[in-house]
């Protein structure tokens, strides 16, 4: 457990006045507040640090204690006595406290071990600051394979120890977030529950590439089929498809298979297209006979 320099965190001098501390805190809070930095873990961590620093330095009693024991807190018997006294006072306070919005943004775990050890947890002022009417929103990430999201399917998730049966519509996209209403934290005294936000992380281990609802596939074509034409069979998500190759097909020729792409999200029966690009493979390891025939062809 390392010593934390709260003055450094707020960027103020040890002799800073209350006004200067408040000003520094406000300035940093405006920069790192979680509401202004959604999904930003770095900002969230920074905000917790500046909150903790403010919690200590804006309270004259805490600041005095921090200044007195600060760096030597580990070795000070006097500090240990003060800490026990502080913890006793806090448990008495919490025992009698009620009030609204216990599910809010500040919990003991939001504070460092250093803070916990020195001040025994969050103060009442930090707790009452959180604004919560409904339950807390939960965020979860669900990892799926591209094949999984080709069809609508049901999946059971465990979020905060609670099992949730979820229908995942076909066509959901990588990075897409869906909101499951009322499956977040429980609201207090009958207030509405929070929501569950699920972010989809879709990995693709197939030979197809996906762009929104369209799929892209490179198909190798041997030289003779490209020159003379013929049939090939390819695999799609929808099963095997037989394709006619026109004679004299050029390298890089694109073919569109309408409706053979990915399902359109929440539009049942609608599909994107599959784009095939032919890549003509030149034969290698030619026999003498083959080389001879190619020479003859070249002379024509």
């Amino acid at each position: 457990m390392a010593f934390i320099d709260y003055y450094k965190i707020l960027g103020v001098d040890k002799t800073a006045t209350d006004k200067e501390i408040k000003k520094a805190y406000r300035k940093l809070a405006r920069k790192y507040h979680p509401d202004l930095n959604p999904d930003n873990k770095v900002a969230e961590k920074k905000f917790k640090e500046i909150n903790e620093a403010n919690e200590v330095l804006s309270n004259s009693e805490n600041r005095k204690k921090y200044d007195k024991y600060g760096k030597d807190w580990k070795h000070s018997e006097e500090f240990e006595k003060a800490r026990q006294q502080q913890q006793y006072q806090r448990s008495s306070y919490q025992g009698s406290s009620g009030g609204f919005g216990g599910s809010g943004g500040f919990s003991d775990s939001d504070y460092s071990d250093f803070f916990e050890s020195m001040f025994g947890g969050a103060s009442s002022s930090a707790r009452s600051r959180s604004v919560k009417y409904r339950g807390q929103d939960f965020n979860a990430e669900l990892h799926l394979d591209l094949k999984d999201v080709y069809t609508t399917h049901k999946q059971t998730l465990t979020v905060n120890g609670k099992k949730i049966r979820l229908t995942i519509p076909a066509g959901v996209k990588n990075g897409q977030v869906i909101k499951i209403k009322g499956h977040g934290g429980k609201g207090i005294n009958g207030d509405p529950n929070g929501d569950l936000h699920i972010k989809f992380s879709i990995s693709n281990h197939t030979q197809f590439k996906r762009d929104k609802d369209n799929l892209y596939l490179n198909v190798d074509l041997d030289l003779y089929k490209a020159v003379l034409g013929g049939d090939i069979t390819i695999d799609t998500f929808d099963g095997k498809v037989k394709l006619k190759i026109k004679p004299e097909t050029q390298n890089g020729t694109k073919v569109k298979l309408k409706g053979k792409g990915f399902p359109v999200y929440k539009k049942e029966g609608q599909f994107g297209d599959l784009y095939i690009t032919y890549q003509i493979k030149i034969p290698t390891n030619l026999t003498d006979k083959e080389k001879e025939l190619f020479r003859e062809l070249a002379k024509l």
Binding site: R26, A29, R30, H33, D35, L36, P38, D39, F100, G101, R129, V131, K132, Y133, R134, D137, K173, N174, G175, Q176, P192, D195, N204, K209, R210, D211, K212, Y216, N218
Partner: protein, 98 residues
């Protein structure tokens, strides 16, 4: 009219410890929509998340109503850009590992 999905503003005022005028100002600037049902003012429960965010920004960061409007507009832009970035990242995979 059914009030099941609506929350009484007076209730929110006491819970959040804010004045009714705060909600009226948010409504005037177009950030929230106040529903009047049988002379009582309500807000749809789907807007609670946003309202809590507005109150936090107002109280914790000393941002006034106009500032909240600016912040919300910018957050909306950030959200749109984030979605665009995700879409472009997905698109980029088309050209990777070829």
């Amino acid at each position: 009219m059914e009030t099941k999905n609506f929350i009484l503003i007076n209730q929110l005022c006491s819970n959040y410890n804010v004045e009714l005028s705060f909600f009226k100002q948010l409504s005037e600037i177009g950030l929230i929509k106040i529903m009047t049902i049988e002379q009582s003012h309500f807000i749809h429960q789907d807007k609670i998340n946003d309202i809590e965010k507005m109150i936090r920004i107002h109280h914790e960061l000393d941002v006034n109503i106009e500032g909240i409007d600016v912040v919300f507009n910018l957050l909306q832009k950030v959200d749109n850009l984030q979605n665009e970035l995700t879409s472009i990242k997905n698109r980029l995979q088309l050209y990777e590992n070829d």
